[in-house]
């Protein structure tokens, strides 16, 4: 446990509840998929919650956040409700994109969560762009791009970081290194030990590797990077070590994991780590139990509401292509 990190009991409690709601929503997504109510595919972020919640805690409400197809936790950390998330997975009218986006494109624009992108690395240049936009508008906003370890081997990663460094833009690249690109260990396809941090030097940026399962550690590191960015001192790369509890996607039982690896990481489950922080900060068992109950009720209510909501209108298929709201491409 990172003993030096400090946070108030109120903050810790808030993050704990947020993390539990995300965890519960991911579990619900898994279960609903198994019962046939969610189709397509899902890439669940259970195990990664501390990265999303910790980073969000360090940001201002109008800062920009960009995510990958494993992005439910990032959208929810910026304010997307469990109901809108599950509604989207279940193709409901109450879903965040009325069923036009789905699991891989979770977006919450009211929280400046600008979307989840399912082509590896594509959102990294976009985050550079929103950071550039903040400089042009002199708005003081910071942009954060979350991505997996696999994204560090694609060209857009390098193009984006170079441009951000050259233009000294207020953007933070946060790698969620969960050890596997999809089914293949990242270490077996990457020439450096730390796929993101060990590349930072190539762009004159410091090498930062942190415990991505400790929400307080993540909060502190992102806060430092955000302060640097707002001071006009340019981008940062933060590599967070974490682990996904489920497989890569719905069809992946993750049989490639060595025996005992998951169990070892479960001992460092971000929820468990934060629970220990709460106890150490003097929050009593009763109070922790109340938070857990509240989160559980919130998720159950979201599941019921999403189930009860109507499917989105078939006419939605032809909306939101063009600025006029429609799909007409010819006279």
């Amino acid at each position: 446990m990172a003993g030096s990190a400090v946070a108030s009991p109120e903050s810790l409690s808030g993050w704990y509840e947020q993390m539990l709601v995300i965890r519960g929503t991911e579990k619900a997504a898994f279960d609903l998929f198994m019962s046939g109510l969610v189709k397509g595919t899902t890439h669940l972020a259970a195990g990664h919650e501390a990265v999303a919640v910790g980073a969000s805690a360090a940001l201002e409400p109008d800062d920009y956040v960009w995510a990958t197809y494993r992005g439910h936790h990032h959208a929810m950390a910026r304010g997307l409700s469990a109901e809108a998330c599950l509604g989207e997975l279940m193709s409901k009218q109450t879903g965040s994109s009325q069923g036009k986006g789905g699991s891989m494109h979770m977006t919450y624009a009211p929280g400046n969560m600008m979307g989840s992108y399912a082509i590896i690395g594509s959102h990294l240049p976009m985050a550079v762009g929103s950071a550039w936009s903040s400089v042009l508008r002199q708005s003081g906003q910071v942009s954060v791009a979350f991505f997996g370890d696999g994204a560090t081997n694609i060209g857009a990663f390098h193009e984006a970081i170079n441009l951000a460094a050259v233009w000294r833009l207020p953007v933070i690249f946060v790698c969620e290194n969960n050890l596997y690109m999809e089914y293949t260990p990242i270490s077996s396809v990457t020439a450096v030990e730390h796929p993101a941090a060990d590349r930072a030097g190539a762009y004159s940026l410091p090498r930062i590797v942190i415990d991505g399962n400790d929400v307080v550690v993540v909060r502190d590191e992102v806060a430092k990077a955000a302060a640097k960015a707002r001071a006009g001192e340019g981008p940062s790369i933060i590599e967070c070590l974490t682990y996904r509890h489920y497989g890569h996607s719905r069809t992946d039982p993750a049989k490639y994991r060595p025996e005992g690896e998951l169990e070892q990481w479960l001992m460092r489950d971000p929820v468990k780590v934060l629970r220990e922080h709460l106890a150490a900060a003097g929050v009593g068992e009763d109070e922790i139990g109340e938070i857990e109950q509240r989160a559980q009720h919130a998720v159950l209510a979201a599941i019921e509401a999403a189930k009860a909501a109507p499917l989105s209108d078939p006419a939605e298929a032809f909306t939101d292509v063009w600025a006029d709201g429609g799909s007409q491409w010819r006279t």
Binding site: M114, S122, V128, G129, W132, S133, L163, W322
Partner: protein
């Protein structure tokens, strides 16, 4: 009468007009700043607007278009330059998967008001990787506006609409037209996207062109007139929105249509237009719908080989005569 200006000058003029009106318009691309662009099509912009609005980038096509997207999605109206349209392949993910889909997959939460300008097409002997007409690549992707002007005045008018549009626009500037001259655009000139231009009226055959093929069809129409054949000439100006109504209305009058396009026959835009005419204009037709396009071959370097592969005035006239007299 004002002096004529070149197509090349019209590009910088069109961008500058919008930049003066709207501070959210910014440009980025390779060598576009102090160098004025490799084709000099952004000459003068850096001097007038400075480094806070005209940004030189590394050779990073994905970062250029991706950064433009991120800026567009957060309050700016970026104009990105991809030096040669062939290089769109280097950032094809952004053109095909990102720009055109963000509005849809976010359920309308996010819009992408940006322009990607690029020098398109052949005729200058640049070989197979710097000469392609690739507007048909873009046409295969729903969600992109596609503009391809043929005159200096149209460059300015379409640039205004492209930059003001809340949709992502691919703006094809034709390399072989850069040195051509025309009337300067009047103040406040705006051409709506999706409005074809009937450049010449006629009664016996409709010739449809776009960008580079416009001088070809116009010259062909002149030669046809000398042979007593009256050709109507339509400049599509944009492929999306496609002004099919103007084309169908013309065909209802002329009963024949010949489409002249620079991109390869295989997958060319004329196929889409031809299918619409065959479907919705069938009972107006007195001849099969015809297309003249580039050969389905990589473009050659040597001028005499390139000429073998591209559409020509002679072939256009010959085909039109056969259609009008059979």
């Amino acid at each position: 009468m004002a002096d004529l200006i070149t197509y090349r000058e019209a590009i910088a003029d069109g961008i500058a007009r919008e930049m003066r009106l709207d501070p959210s318009v910014v440009c980025l691309g390779e060598d576009i700043g102090a160098a004025g662009g490799v084709f000099k099509s952004t000459q003068g912009l850096f001097e007038e607007f400075g480094p806070t609005r005209i940004w030189d980038t590394p050779i990073s096509e994905q970062a250029i278009v991706g950064a433009a997207m991120g800026a567009a999605m957060t309050g700016m109206r970026p104009v990105a330059e991809i030096m040669f349209s062939d290089f769109l392949a280097c950032c094809w993910d952004f053109i095909a998967n990102e720009m055109p889909k963000v509005r849809y997959m976010t359920g309308g939460q996010v819009k992408v008001p940006m322009v990607v300008r690029t020098a398109n097409g052949g005729g200058l002997g640049f070989g197979a990787q710097h000469s392609q007409a690739v507007e048909n690549w873009a046409l295969s992707v729903p969600g992109l506006v596609i503009a391809a002007p043929s005159t200096p005045s149209d460059v300015v008018g379409l640039m205004a609409s492209a930059i003001r549009s809340d949709d992502p626009v691919l703006f094809f500037e034709h390399k072989a037209l850069f040195a051509t001259k025309g009337e300067p655009a009047p103040a406040g000139h705006v051409i709506p996207l999706g409005q074809a231009n009937v450049v010449r009226t006629g009664s016996e055959i409709t010739l449809v062109g776009l960008a580079w093929s416009m001088p070809i069809v116009l010259e062909a129409a002149e030669l046809l007139a000398q042979q007593g054949i009256s050709a109507e000439v339509i400049d599509l100006r944009t492929l999306v929105p496609l002004d099919a109504a103007t084309v169908l209305s013309s065909v209802s009058k002329t009963s024949r249509i010949l489409i002249v396009e620079e991109n390869p026959f295989q997958g060319g835009w004329g196929g889409t237009l031809a299918s619409i005419v065959a479907d919705e204009g069938f009972y107006d037709l007195d001849a099969p719908v015809k297309r003249i396009a580039a050969a389905s071959v990589p473009l050659a370097f040597a001028t005499h080989l390139e000429n073998e592969l591209l559409p020509s005035v002679a072939l256009t006239v010959e085909t039109a005569v056969r259609m009008a007299t059979s």
